[in-house]
C-alpha cells in the first residue's frame, strides 16, 4: 500500500505549446479511491499514464510512497493497470486464469495457489476456481479479470475508463463492484472517467481537470455543495446546474423579475472587472414552481418534460422581460433551464411555468473570473 503524489507534474507533448497536464499537484492517501474526471482533452488520462510510466514527465515529479518513480519504467513501478486486458483463456481453469502472470514471474506454486484463493474469497469466486471460464456469467468473468490484478498485490491500481466498453447494465453492476471491492482491499486506486456520475458514486475524492489544469479536488459532497468555479459547478451534478448572469444593484442580483439578495461580504468581493454583474448557479432541485404573479418569479416556457418515475424534469426556455440578458445555460444547452418538478403534477409541452430560486440555494461566482465568491 502506498500514497501517490503528483508534485508539479507537467506533460508537454512534442510540437505543442500548451501543456497537456500543467503543474499538477495532487496527493492521494494510502488506500484512497481517487477519481480523475473531466471532459475529453482535460488531461485526466495523460495524468494517469504519467503515473503508469507511459507518458514522459517533462517537469515536476511523481512519487509512489516515498519513492520517486518519475524515471522508473512501467513494469518496475509496482502498479497494476486493471481491465486493460481481460480476455479469459478458455482452456485454463479460473484459478489459472487468475494466477498465470505469477507463474510467468516464477512465483512458487504454493504461493500462487494461496494468493489466488485469497483473491477468490474476496471476489466470491471460490467455488468456481477449478471450473473453466465458459461456466461463468458476464459479471463473474469481470471479477476474474479483477482477480488477475489483485493476485499481483500491487501498491496502486490504475483504471482508465474501465467501464467504457461494457453495456449499460453491466456498467452499473461493475461500478458498484469495483467500488466495494476497492474498499475491502484497501488498495490505493486512481480511476479515470469522463462520466461525473461514475465519479460521484465511486470516488472517496474527485479531482476535476480542464485544459490540463486541476480545477478542484474534494469529496463528492464538497464538489456538489461548494464547487470552486463555474466549470466545476456545471460539470458535477446530473442534470447539470443552471447558470445565469445577473445584474447587481444595491446588494441585489436581478434579471427580469428574478431577484436574489446578496450578502454584503459577497458584494464586497465584486471588482471592476465584473462590470456590475454576477454569475449565479442554481440546481434544478433548487427551484420552486410557484403560481403566476408570485414575487421574484421567472417564467419558463416548457420545451420538454422528462419523466423518470420518482422524478420529473422540465427542459425550458427563460421567457419574459430581460430573458435574453440572463445568458442562461445548463447541461441542456444555451438558453435552456432545467427545473425539477413534482412528478405527479406535470405541465404540458408549450405551457409556461413560474419558478423562484430557493433561498440559500444559489451558488455565486465572479462574472469575470468564474471563481466562487464566499
Amino acid at each position: 500500500m502506498a500514497t501517490v503524489t503528483f508534485d508539479h507534474a507537467t506533460r508537454v507533448y512534442p510540437g505543442t505549446e500548451r501543456p497537456a497536464v500543467d503543474q499538477l499537484n495532487l496527493h492521494v492517501e494510502d488506500g484512497e479511491f481517487l477519481v480523475l474526471v473531466g471532459p475529453s482533452g482535460c488531461g485526466k488520462s495523460t495524468s494517469l499514464r504519467m503515473l503508469a510510466g507511459l507518458e514522459d514527465v517533462n517537469g515536476g515529479s511523481i512519487l509512489i510512497g516515498d519513492r520517486d518513480v518519475t524515471d522508473v519504467q512501467p513494469k518496475d513501478r509496482d502498479i497494476a493497470m486493471v481491465f486493460q486486458n481481460y480476455a479469459l483463456y478458455p482452456h485454463m481453469s479460473v484459478a489459472d486464469n487468475m494466477g498465470f502472470a505469477l507463474k510467468i514471474a516464477g512465483t512458487p506454486k504454493a504461493e500462487i495457489r494461496q494468493r489466488v484463493e485469497e483473491a477468490a474469497k474476496i471476489l466470491d469466486l471460490t467455488e468456481y476456481l477449478d471450473r473453466k471460464p465458459k461456466a461463468l456469467s458476464g459479471g463473474q468473468r469481470q471479477r476474474v479479470a479483477m482477480g488477475r490484478a489483485i493476485v499481483r498485490q500491487p501498491q496502486v491500481f490504475l483504471m482508465d475508463e474501465p467501464l467504457s466498453n461494457l453495456d449499460a447494465k453491466l456498467r452499473v453492476q461493475t461500478r458498484t463492484q469495483i467500488a466495494s471491492l476497492q474498499r475491502r482491499l484497501g488498495v490505493t486506486t486512481v480511476y479515470v472517467t469522463h462520466d461525473q456520475t461514475e465519479a460521484l458514486t465511486m470516488g472517496d475524492r474527485i479531482a476535476v481537470l480542464k485544459g490540463g489544469l486541476l480545477q478542484q479536488v474534494g469529496t463528492p459532497r464538497e464538489m456538489y455543495d461548494t464547487p470552486a468555479n463555474v466549470f466545476v459547478a456545471g460539470f458535477i451534478g446530473s442534470p447539470a446546474m443552471n447558470i445565469a448572469t445577473f445584474k447587481v444593484d444595491n446588494g441585489v442580483a436581478h434579471v427580469g423579475a428574478a431577484r436574489v439578495p446578496l450578502e454584503r461580504s459577497t458584494v464586497e468581493q465584486l471588482t471592476d472587472a465584473d462590470g456590475g454583474k454576477i454569475t449565479i448557479g442554481f440546481r434544478p432541485e433548487a427551484l420552486d414552481v410557484v403560481p403566476e404573479g408570485t414575487e421574484n418569479a421567472m417564467p419558463v416556457a416548457v420545451n420538454l418534460v422528462e419523466e423518470l418515475g420518482s422524478d420529473a424534469f422540465v427542459y425550458g426556455t427563460l421567457v419574459g422581460p430581460a430573458a435574453e440578458e440572463a445568458e442562461v445555460r445548463s447541461g441542456a444547452g444555451d438558453n435552456q433551464v432545467i427545473v425539477r418538478i413534482d412528478p405527479r403534477n406535470v405541465p404540458m409541452k408549450g405551457d409556461t411555468i413560474h419558478v423562484t430560486i430557493k433561498p440559500g440555494q444559489s451558488h455565486l461566482f465572479s462574472a469575470a473570473t468564474g471563481n466562487r465568491l464566499n
Binding site: Y13, P14, G15, A52, G53, L54, E55, D56, Q73, P74, K75, Q84, N85, Y86, A87, L88, Y89, P90, H91, M92, S93, D96, F100, A101, K103, I104, K134, S164, N165, L166, D167, A168, H194, D195, N303, L304, E306, E307, L308, Y315, T317, A332, G333, N335, Q336
Partner: protein
C-alpha cells in the same frame, strides 16, 4: 424546440428517455457503403445469429462477441461493442491504413440497433476478414516446429516495431489480436484489434516497453492456454517464445533507430547501414548525420524508416502489390531473368514488364483455376520456385518453369487446403465454442526446400 436532447451523439451521455424508441433508426456509417450489409439480421443479438449467415471461422480469444459472415464474396468480421468504442476503433483502423500499417480493413459501424421488442442492442464494428490469413490458434497448434514459432514471433516483432514507429500504442498486443499471412518463407503479421490503442505523435520509451511487456505476458498466456487444452506440442517452451519476442523487438528497434558512431575515415558505414536496413525490408526516409567539432567522429541515426522496401520496388517495376518477402523472392527471380536474357543494360521497367508477361503470369495461369485460389498468386509463385529448386536438385538438371509448375500442382498444391478463408467447419454446422480446426503449418511446402516435402513429390 431546443436542440436537446441530441440522441445518438457518442459523447457518453446516456439518454434516459424514450422519445425516439418507436422510430426505426438503424444507421450504417461507412466510407465504402455496401447495401448488402442491410440484409444482415441486425435486430438479433450477435450471439444468436442463425448459422446460415455465419461463416465458420476459428475465432481468437475476445472479450466481446465476434462472428464472421459471408457477404458478396467477402468474409466480414462483426464485433458487438459500445457505440463510442466502435467509432473510435473504426477511426483508428482507418488511420492505421493511411499510415500503411498492415491491419484489417474497417468496413463500418452499425448503430441504432433495436430488437423486435424495441430494446436497444449494442453497436457493431464491421471489418473485412483478411483473405489468406491464419489465426494463431491454427498456426501454433500441433506439430509446431521451433522455426515456425520463431518465424511467427519475428512477424509479430516486425509488426510491433512498425506500429511503434508511426506512434501507435497498441495497449493489448496479443496473438489473438493478430492475423498471420504467408509471406514467402516468412509470415507477415496483421493488426486485427485496435480497441485499446492510441495514436501519438511519438511514443515514449515507457509506452513501448509496456506494450512489449504486455505482449510477452499475453503470448505466454495464450500458449499456456493452448497447452492446457492439449493443443500444443509438449516440447514448446511458452516462456522462451514470449522472451524471444522481447529480444527480437529490441534487436529490430535498435537496428532501425539506434545511433551509430565511427571515425570519419569510415564513411562507408553510412551506406552499409542503409543496406542493412534495406535487407531487413526497410527504406530509410531520412538519416541524421552529425560530426563532432574536430570532424573525427561521425554519428548517424535513421530518422524515418518505412517498411516494405522490396514490395515498393516490385510495385514500381511491375505494378504487382505483394508482401515484402514475396516481393524479395519475385525480385530475385526477376534478377535471374535479367541475367539469363542478358538485358542488364535495358530499361528496368521494360524488362520487368517482359518478365511479368513471359514468366510470372504464364506460371500462375498454368495452375488450374480451381486450385489457383488456394493461395495468393505471389505465394504460389514463391512455392513453385521452391519446388523447382527441389526437383532440379533431385534430377540433377535445371527443370524449366512449366514442368516445375505441373509437378508442383500434382504433388503439392492438390494436397493443400484452401487458405482463402480457413474454414473451421462446413457452413451450416453448429459452431463449437472454443474449438478450432487445426491447420498443419509444417506439412506444407512453406518449409525450406532442403527439408520436408520430399514425401510429397514421390
Amino acid at each position: 424546440m431546443g436542440s436537446w436532447p441530441s440522441h445518438g451523439s457518442h459523447g457518453g451521455h446516456e439518454p434516459t428517455h424514450n422519445v425516439w424508441s418507436d422510430v426505426e433508426q438503424l444507421q450504417i456509417t461507412s466510407a465504402t457503403p455496401d447495401s448488402a450489409l442491410l440484409d444482415l439480421p441486425w435486430r438479433t443479438p450477435l450471439a444468436d445469429w442463425p448459422a446460415d449467415v455465419l461463416a465458420a471461422l476459428p475465432r481468437g480469444i475476445s472479450r466481446h462477441v465476434v462472428r464472421f459472415v459471408r457477404l458478396g464474396g467477402r468474409v466480414l468480421a462483426i464485433k458487438e461493442i459500445s457505440e463510442a468504442v466502435a467509432f473510435r476503433e473504426y477511426d483508428l483502423l482507418r488511420q492505421l491504413r493511411k499510415l500503411e500499417i498492415p491491419a484489417v480493413r474497417p468496413v463500418g459501424v452499425v448503430t441504432g440497433r433495436r430488437d423486435d421488442d424495441g430494446e436497444p442492442l449494442e453497436a457493431a464494428l464491421v471489418t473485412e476478414h483478411l483473405a489468406f490469413s491464419l489465426p494463431y490458434r491454427a498456426v501454433f497448434s500441433q506439430a509446431l516446429r521451433p522455426d515456425t514459432a520463431a518465424r511467427l514471433i519475428d512477424a509479430l516483432a516486425v509488426l510491433l516495431v512498425r506500429v511503434h514507429l508511426v506512434g501507435f500504442y497498441w495497449g493489448d498486443v496479443s496473438l489473438s489480436n493478430t492475423l498471420f499471412r504467408r509471406d514467402a518463407h516468412q509470415f507477415a503479421a496483421y493488426l486485427v484489434d485496435a480497441e485499446t490503442g492510441d495514436l501519438h505523435r511519438e511514443l515514449s520509451r515507457g509506452q513501448r516497453e509496456y506494450d512489449v511487456d504486455l505482449a510477452r505476458t499475453n503470448i505466454i498466456g495464450e500458449l499456456m492456454d493452448l497447452a492446457a487444452g492439449e493443443l500444443l506440442d509438449e516440447e514448446v517452451d511458452e516462456l522462451a517464445i514470449g522472451d524471444a519476442l522481447v529480444s527480437r523487438y529490441a534487436e529490430l528497434w535498435e537496428a532501425l533507430t539506434g545511433v551509430e558512431s565511427f571515425g570519419s575515415d569510415e564513411r562507408w558505414r553510412v551506406a552499409a547501414r542503409i543496406d542493412r536496413l534495406n535487407d531487413l525490408g526497410f527504406d530509410v526516409g531520412e538519416l541524421s548525420i552529425t560530426t563532432d567539432i574536430d570532424g573525427t567522429t561521425v554519428r548517424i541515426q535513421p530518422q524515418v524508416v518505412d517498411a516494405g522496401h522490396h514490395s515498393r520496388r516490385l510495385f514500381r517495376l511491375t505494378g504487382l502489390d505483394v508482401q515484402d518477402n514475396q516481393a524479395r523472392r519475385l525480385l530475385n527471380d526477376l534478377d535471374s531473368y535479367v541475367a539469363a536474357t542478358d538485358r542488364q543494360e535495358d530499361d528496368p521497367q521494360m524488362v520487368a514488364h517482359d518478365w511479368s508477361q513471359n514468366v510470372f503470369q504464364p506460371t500462375i495461369r498454368a495452375v488450374p483455376r480451381d486450385l489457383r485460389r488456394k493461395l495468393e498468386p505471389a505465394q504460389l509463385f514463391h512455392e513453385i520456385l521452391d519446388h523447382r529448386w527441389f526437383i532440379s536438385e533431385q534430377a540433377g538438371r535445371d527443370i524449366p518453369m512449366p514442368e516445375a509448375t505441373v509437378s508442383y500442382v500434382e504433388h503439392v498444391l492438390r494436397h493443400r487446403r484452401d487458405e482463402k478463408a480457413i474454414l473451421g467447419l462446413p457452413p451450416g454446422e453448429p459452431d463449437r465454442e472454443g474449438d478450432v480446426d487445426i491447420v498443419d503449418m509444417d506439412s506444407g511446402p512453406d518449409a525450406a526446400p532442403e527439408d520436408d516435402h520430399f514425401h510429397l513429390s514421390t
